[in-house]
């Protein structure tokens, strides 16, 4: 038995076994981290989610669960979905600005007769609207 309990076992007021699923990811010095995830997901759901993952993925999962729980506590209506919305809007705005700027360049180049240097048709990389429903989630990694 650990003489020093992890934050989860301390919060749950139980002994912290040597193979505690929480202890590597919820150290005793950061009680807020476990309180967040416990409030949103519940300890048993977090334990289940971590247990279903290979050991080398659990740290990242615990981090992302904490982040989402923190966002949900800050914004109980939208949680981290609000952040996704903002980012999509910013991408849309940037694409529009880019299109406008490249159109201006193309127009100037056409006007000045330097079509070979600057193409008449704006070219830029459009990213598809991010479609959560069909996305290949496994491609995304935390920075």
């Amino acid at each position: 038995m650990n003489s020093s309990r992890c934050a989860a076992c301390r919060h749950l007021r139980r002994r912290c076994p040597s193979d505690c699923i929480f202890s590597p990811y919820f150290p005793s010095h950061d009680s807020k981290r476990f309180r967040c995830v416990h409030k949103i997901y519940g300890a048993s759901n977090v334990a289940k989610m971590l247990q279903e993952l290979p050991a080398d993925r659990r740290a990242e999962a615990a981090d992302s669960l904490y982040y989402e729980a923190y966002c949900r506590l800050k914004d109980p209506v939208y949680g981290c979905v609000g952040t996704i919305t903002i980012l999509c809007q910013q991408i849309h705005n940037a694409q529009c600005q880019l299109a406008t700027t490249q159109a201006e360049i193309a127009s100037l180049s056409a006007h000045s007769g330097l079509q070979n240097q600057y193409p008449a048709t704006p070219t830029f990389n459009l990213i598809d609207q991010y479609d959560v429903a069909s996305a290949n989630w496994s491609d995304f990694n935390l920075q």
């Binding site: 982040y67 506590l73 800050k74 109980p76 939208y78 201006e104 991010y130």
Partner: protein
């Protein structure tokens, strides 16, 4: 919004939990029986009692958006048990950064092009023709502003938005208030 409890058909939550769907069931307006997977995901990730507590802490007009955003997060987590929605945020952040670089480069090209191409006699004292003044590269803080969500949770800064291709109905309505209903950070 469906209100299954007013009919004989139980809502998806009560069907899943195998209990009677009472009038006034907190789940019934948001988990219609035609969408069983929505509640199944939410229950798997958050648990029915946690969702009940979350909804009870919100005003009635906020609950539909909250349920839809929870359903969104739950589906994301089911699809990607390691990163959930955070994977999407990370991806989108990289897109924003890439586009910002492209935009900066395009604006710089535009200015260089304009300065090289316009005869000196046609320039304003600032060196830029009037019709291109608006094409000056915007200050970085004006072009795109966002707070980078970090793992320590210091995200924030919400803005009015437009619709997204969600699997579920939009989790917000026209009265989207990023500051509404939030906790003070003490938890």
């Amino acid at each position: 919004m469906a209100s299954s409890s007013s009919y004989n058909s139980p809502c998806a939550a009560c069907k899943f939990l195998r209990r009677k769907c009472m009038p006034g069931c907190i789940f019934a307006p948001y988990f219609p029986p035609e969408e069983p997977q929505k509640f199944a995901n939410v229950h798997k990730i958050f648990g029915a009692s946690n969702v009940t507590k979350l909804l009870n802490e919100l005003l009635p007009h906020q609950r539909e958006d909250a349920v839809n955003s929870l359903a969104y997060e739950a589906e994301a987590r089911v699809r990607d048990p390691v990163y959930g929605c955070v994977g999407a945020i990370s991806f989108l952040q990289r897109q924003v950064e890439r586009l910002q670089k492209e935009l900066d480069a395009a604006n710089a090209d535009l200015i260089r092009f304009a300065c090289n191409e316009i005869p000196a006699a046609g320039l304003q004292p600032a060196g830029i023709p009037p019709n291109l003044i608006h094409a000056n590269p915007p200050p970085r803080h004006r072009s795109m502003e966002y707070n980078r969500p970090r793992i320590d949770g210091n995200g924030g800064g919400f803005y009015q938005t437009q619709s997204l291709p969600y699997a579920y109905p939009l989790p917000w309505n026209d009265n989207y208030n990023p500051q509404g209903g939030g906790l003070d950070g003490n938890f």
